[in-house]
């Protein structure tokens, strides 16, 4: 075994002792940030800049293209948007779609929860989830149309059915993979408390897998919109009702392209609002506070 040798090469340094280490009022002068940095730190400002830039690109490209039939300018779209807003057609269409969407989304989440719970509980549950997901997730909504019509008839029932199909698999996949990724130790801790079944899932797995679940929810949300808008066309409407998808279809039939884009803009705006108000807030209150994303 080696002898430690003469400690260090500079052992002749003086030793230092501080008697009063508790002193000082721990005042710290922080470096000031430049105004650019201060502004850059504001997420909403950065996002606003991005949005303004995108709108600018849209406007410029629209003008350069100069083809109102195919791609209207941003200003034309915005004015169509406001006129649609004023005469109430856009809000009522958005509300019509939104209602159905929320129902489908909610049911999709519920179904995904059940499937994932089964998958976590047993091996055959896992196989079931995996098989169902790999079979049904790639199927387009039209494939479900006949069954939807038989089971739910025309109207919102069928729309919700199709929405559930588009939401469930994405959320279930993300949730399940999130559950599997939860640290072994945390799972052992939960079991140690005697938690089992639903209590274990709700109190341990869901918070621990929250980032994955949130991603699933975001993807599910987006695909719910996509599917709804497409499905509103396939399923038709009974007179009087009709959501954003129908609004877009109708205006396209009338060749009122700025209105078509106003409808799409509504989808975009709703997406931005949901992301920045709802999902961001959830993230701030959970993931960020818990320090589980870096």
């Amino acid at each position: 075994m080696a002898e430690p040798g003469v400690p260090g090469t500079t052992a002749d340094r003086p030793e230092i002792f501080h008697q009063d280490v508790s002193g000082g009022d721990l005042t710290i002068t922080e470096q000031k940030l430049s105004w650019f940095e201060t502004l850059y730190r504001e997420a909403w400002l950065r996002k606003l800049v991005i949005l303004v830039l995108l709108a600018g690109i849209w406007e410029i490209y629209g003008r350069a293209l100069n083809n109102d039939l195919l791609f209207p300018t941003f200003t034309a779209t915005i004015s169509a948007f406001f006129s649609g807003l004023m005469d109430g057609t856009l809000p009522s269409a958005a509300w019509g779609s939104g209602k159905v969407l929320l129902m489908g989304y909610g049911l999709g989440i519920a179904l995904a929860s059940v499937l994932t719970a089964l998958a976590i509980a047993s091996r055959i549950g896992t196989d079931f989830l995996e098989t169902m997901t790999s079979m049904f997730n790639p199927l387009p909504a039209i494939a479900l149309l006949p069954l939807a019509l038989i089971w739910f008839g025309l109207g919102n029932g069928s729309l919700i059915f199709v929405l559930v199909h588009s939401v469930t698999w994405a959320i279930a996949l993300n949730t399940h993979s999130g559950f599997l990724g939860v640290s072994k130790t945390l799972k052992m801790v939960g079991r140690n408390y005697g938690l089992r079944g639903p209590a274990f899932i709700i109190k341990i797995l869901i918070p621990a897998a929250f980032p994955s679940i949130l991603t699933g929810l975001k993807i599910g949300w987006a695909f719910a919109w996509r599917t709804l808008i497409a499905a509103e066309l396939v399923f038709g409407v009974s007179s009087g009702s009709g959501g954003l998808g129908w609004f877009i279809f109708e205006n396209k039939n009338m060749l009122d392209i700025p209105k078509v884009f106003a409808g799409l803009l509504t989808v975009i705006i709703i997406g931005l609002v949901v992301e920045n108000l709802i999902f961001r807030t959830i993230e701030r209150l959970t993931i960020q506070r818990w320090g589980v994303q870096h």
Partner: protein, 305 residues
């Protein structure tokens, strides 16, 4: 009890619009001592509507001759879906913006012809028949390679927008008429020429089971249709106004009246010109049937005379 009726978009459904707007069904039902309400469903295509009909969510479907022929042929063994009445006869135009294209044979590989659905839509079948007629026997599929599927509005936008390969559109009113207003556009073929006379464009159909079980309702419907047809023939301006009030449209009143009063358009419940289609489709193997008389496609209601 509710009668569930379907409708699609376009001027071709004008009689149904009038029935709904003027409450003609309810009126005639009352006269006949029947009590039912009507539910109007709107579809964007024939396939969704046929599924609604087959799944029992719809009593009476309305659409083009193409889907009607298909569902009739497919259900001969079981549900026996047949036509109740025609809605009108209207010509379909193949419109192009390429000045070089004067006849069907001028189409080459650089052209794309937009249709609602390649191979299966009535436009695609008409085009095949035209190819057979103008390009010669056995040439019926010659133009198929140039066709692409596109909804009417998208096709119009692509054609007139001029930034895509779409150089022709086999559409339907009012889109074809709007296209022809553009100075760059002109008509290449006309379906009346291909078929050899006027032919039904839209019609309504139902399952035998429904017609047999509800003869009174069907009679009421026929009476309402008849009244609507008469109204259109006699008061086209009024009909145009009602239609514009009920449908979202970007057409002017004059344009609508022009469409309605076009001398080549007949508003009548009696179908016509179905024979050539039936012949061709049977010949081309698109449907299999041993029926020779096209009138068997319809319930007797379609031939009140």
């Amino acid at each position: 009890e509710t009668l569930r009726m379907a409708r699609q978009f376009g001027i071709g459904y004008l009689p149904l619009t009038l029935i709904e707007e003027q409450g003609l069904l309810e009126k005639h039902a009352k006269e006949a001592g029947l009590d039912f309400t009507t539910e109007w469903l709107r579809f964007t295509g024939g396939s969704g509507m046929n599924e609604a009909l087959l799944s029992g969510n719809l009593d009476i479907a309305a659409g083009g001759v193409g889907p009607a022929l298909t569902i009739w042929a497919r259900t001969q063994a079981n549900l026996k879906v047949k036509g109740i009445a025609a809605l009108e006869s209207m010509p379909l135009y193949l419109v192009t913006t390429d000045p070089e294209v004067k006849e069907l044979k001028d189409f080459t590989g650089k052209h794309k012809i937009a249709l609602p659905a390649v191979k299966t839509s009535i436009q695609a079948i008409t085009l095949q028949m035209a190819a057979e007629k103008y390009l010669g026997e056995g040439q019926h599929a010659a133009l198929d390679a140039f066709t692409v599927s596109m909804g009417h509005p998208d096709a119009l936008l692509a054609l007139l927008g001029g930034q895509s390969e779409i150089s022709a559109h086999f559409g339907a009113p009012p889109f074809q008429n709007q296209e022809l207003k553009d100075p760059r556009a002109h008509k290449v073929i006309d379906s009346y020429d291909v078929v050899g006379g006027p032919h039904t464009f839209n019609m309504i159909w139902a399952k035998s089971e429904f017609v047999e079980a509800n003869p009174k309702t069907v009679a009421v419907l026929m009476a309402a249709l008849d009244e609507a047809m008469t109204f259109i023939r006699e008061n086209p301006e009024e009909a145009a106004k009602i239609w514009m009030g009920a449908e979202a449209t970007n057409l002017s009143a004059a344009e609508v009246i022009e469409l309605i009063t076009d001398p080549r358009v007949t508003w009548s419940v009696t179908p016509e010109g179905i024979g050539p289609y039936l012949d061709y489709m049977t010949r081309a193997g698109l449907i299999t049937t041993d029926v020779t008389d096209w009138k068997e496609l319809f319930f007797p209601t379609a031939f009140p005379g």
